[in-house]
């Protein structure tokens, strides 16, 4: 592991921030304070954080409907994110996108996406632009096990491998395509096996071990930066919640849920940090408390922000 103390503590803080953000969404969604659909990243924090710890601002990500974690990990502003979830003018998209479309192109975040599997072609195109401009940047496409069944997966991996584009296909296998368990929607266990069909490396890692994710993604990103082409990285993880808020997840076996809760990525990293003597419990408690305070502040900002003027409906359809 080449992660230094500061880096690992920073990773911990990011994971706690995602946890706090999403936990707060559970609460405010249940309270009826936000409209629409929300798909939460609780339990999967190690994936986005471990991957994005390898990225620079110039690098691109394409996210998914379950995108809050990716955005926070790539440096998204919490207040702008929360305000967007609340549908306010101060939100990232001025209230026009909502949870499923938060983006920050200046940070290389090419958007969450409401269409499963749509991010892979987009990330492939961003990677093409990086190669075309020869600027050393890379793109990462996040997608789930369900999206790995879509035609876009095949087309994007085939093109990106043929053109040797600097892109990493980062599969978050949380075991569920909505209510369908992995074994009911594909005839393989390791999605990384599909890489061989494209002549690229495929690797599967424990997606709840942030250090393992960091290392596997780091190797793939380095390979992309060197011009050696794409890699398919599968991170095996588990979503703690239902597909969306309001889905009780009755299709999950409670025993499985219990087993995976034991593998929660945040306590696992805490144990590591303590073992490495990178922190004492009080340090970790403070980081957690700080992130929760940040989220409270973001909620206050969102709630006190103005709602859009109805005329806003008509702007931004076309660029002038």
């Amino acid at each position: 592991m080449d992660l230094k103390k500061e880096q690992l503590l920073d990773i911990y803080k990011k994971m706690c921030t995602i946890r706090a953000f999403e936990s707060k969404i559970v609460e405010i969604f249940a309270a009826g304070k936000i409209p629409g659909f929300v798909h939460l990243y609780l339990g999967e924090e190690a994936v986005a954080t471990g991957v994005c710890a390898n990225l620079e601002t110039k690098d691109f990500i394409a996210s998914t409907h379950r995108g809050h974690g990716h955005l926070i990990a790539k440096g998204g502003d919490l207040k702008s994110m929360m305000a967007e979830v609340f549908g306010r003018t101060t939100g990232y998209c001025k209230g026009k996108g909502g949870s499923m479309h938060i983006a920050d192109v200046d940070l290389g975040i090419l958007g969450a996406n409401g269409i499963v599997g749509a991010g892979m072609p987009i990330a492939t195109g961003a990677a093409f632009a990086c190669k075309y401009k020869n600027n050393g940047a890379v793109a990462v496409a996040f997608f789930g096990d369900g999206a790995s069944d879509r035609a876009t997966f095949h087309e994007a991996l085939n093109l990106a491998s043929t053109w040797k584009l600097p892109v990493v296909f980062l599969c978050e296998n949380n075991g569920w395509a909505i209510s369908n368990s992995q074994k009911t929607h594909q005839n393989i266990t390791d999605i990384s096996d599909r890489a061989s069909g494209y002549g690229i490396p495929g690797v599967s890692v424990d997606g709840n071990d942030v250090i393992a994710v960091y290392e596997a993604a780091g190797a793939a990103i380095e390979r992309a930066r060197k011009g050696d082409g794409p890699t398919l990285v599968e991170c095996k993880t588990w979503r703690h919640r239902g597909h969306f808020e309001g889905d009780p997840g009755a299709y999950k076996d409670p025993k499985d849920q219990e087993e995976w809760l034991k593998k929660d990525p945040i306590p696992r990293l805490e144990k590591n940090l303590l073992k490495l003597n990178y922190a004492v419990q009080a340090d970790l408690d403070k980081i957690k408390a700080d992130t929760e305070a940040d989220i409270e502040e973001a909620v206050k900002f969102a709630e006190s922000s103005p709602l859009p003027d109805p005329q806003e409906l008509f702007t931004d359809v076309y660029a002038d």
Partner: protein, 323 residues
């Protein structure tokens, strides 16, 4: 001015813009050494090389989808879809991604990309290689739809489409590819959203675009011999639509016929008719009429295909019925 075919004019439009802006590149099936399935990209591969003229796999979704990502990341892709009939294979990338990205992101993204694609019947290519389906695209806020009818327009609209900061669907008609005309040399831009009066007249307004504009012009000449002086308006771009020019013409003629090659129901003629009925009702002294393809798939046998297509005769008959 130089004599060029419509295909050469499209190519020249791309060439000039590629020379002007290094961020413009072209990707699609068989567009490189092969020169495009209809020869439209021709020698561009030899002129610009493999970095800027790229063959893709037969993968329409990633042809359009990668263009969205590349455009959002600062390039100006021209993506070719070999037949407009294949757009079904990449519709999500067009209508949910390219078209909506700017709006969904609150105006903080630009998606300057062109999707070039040939349309049209008349070559016995049957139901999956002959369609005109422009109203698929006009129905999507966020994209623009361009349908040139002459070589000069083909070049100038290509330049405008490439320079536009929005996704543009540029539909070229297969029957027009070999048609020659005068085309300005060097940089030449025809602005999107500006109709062109292809023939001035006083008795009836005929709105038509793409191949049907040529049919309407030929019909107008025959009608003139019968004493009916038709004005033929080519909107050139359906989105944005130059409705003012159409209304102005109808205010003069009092009659409107719209001709298109796509099927009748939910075709773009219905939209133009609705606009004129709404905003120009008082100008009209006859019901608005349409000449379109019927609501059927496109048949193979030339006899059936001829029956399917709008023609000069059908246009003349429709016009005569309005007097």
């Amino acid at each position: 001015m130089k004599q060029m075919t419509y295909a050469e004019a499209i190519r020249d439009g791309m060439r000039v813009e590629m020379q002007r802006d290094p961020n413009v590149y072209l990707a699609g099936e068989d567009v490189a050494q092969f020169g495009g399935c209809f020869g439209v990209t021709g020698t561009l591969y030899d002129e610009f090389g493999p970095q800027r003229v790229l063959n893709t796999p037969i993968s329409e979704a990633v042809i359009v989808g990668h263009a969205v990502g590349a455009a959002a990341a600062g390039l100006r892709p021209i993506a070719e879809i070999m037949f407009v009939d294949f757009m079904g294979c990449c519709m999500d990338e067009l209508f949910n991604q390219a078209a909506k990205m700017r709006y969904m992101f609150g105006g903080k993204a630009k998606v300057p990309m062109v999707v070039r694609t040939p349309c049209g019947a008349g070559m016995g290519a049957a139901a999956q290689h002959s369609q005109c389906m422009e109203s698929w695209f006009t129905h999507i806020p966020g994209i623009k739809t361009v349908m040139p009818s002459t070589p000069a327009d083909a070049k100038g609209l290509m330049a405008a489409a490439i320079r536009d900061d929005n996704p543009v669907v540029y539909i070229e008609h297969k029957q027009l590819l070999g048609v020659s005309g005068d085309v300005p040399e060097g940089e030449y831009v025809v602005p999107l959203g500006k109709a062109d009066i292809k023939r001035e007249g006083s008795d009836i307004t005929i709105v038509a675009w793409s191949w049907m504009m040529q049919k309407a012009l030929a019909a107008a000449e025959q009608l003139a011999a019968k004493g009916i002086n038709a004005e033929v308006i080519d909107p050139r771009t359906l989105i944005p639509l130059d409705k003012d020019e159409i209304l102005k013409s109808v205010s003069k003629t009092g009659k409107l016929l719209i001709v298109h090659e796509e099927v009748k129901t939910s075709g773009f003629a219905g939209e133009i008719a609705a606009i004129v009925a709404d905003e120009g009702f008082d100008y009209l002294d006859a019901p608005i009429k349409r000449v379109t393809a019927p609501d059927t798939p496109i048949p193979f046998s030339p006899v059936l295909e001829t029956a399917y297509l709008p023609s000069e005769e059908k246009i003349i008959k429709a016009v005569e019925e309005m007097f």
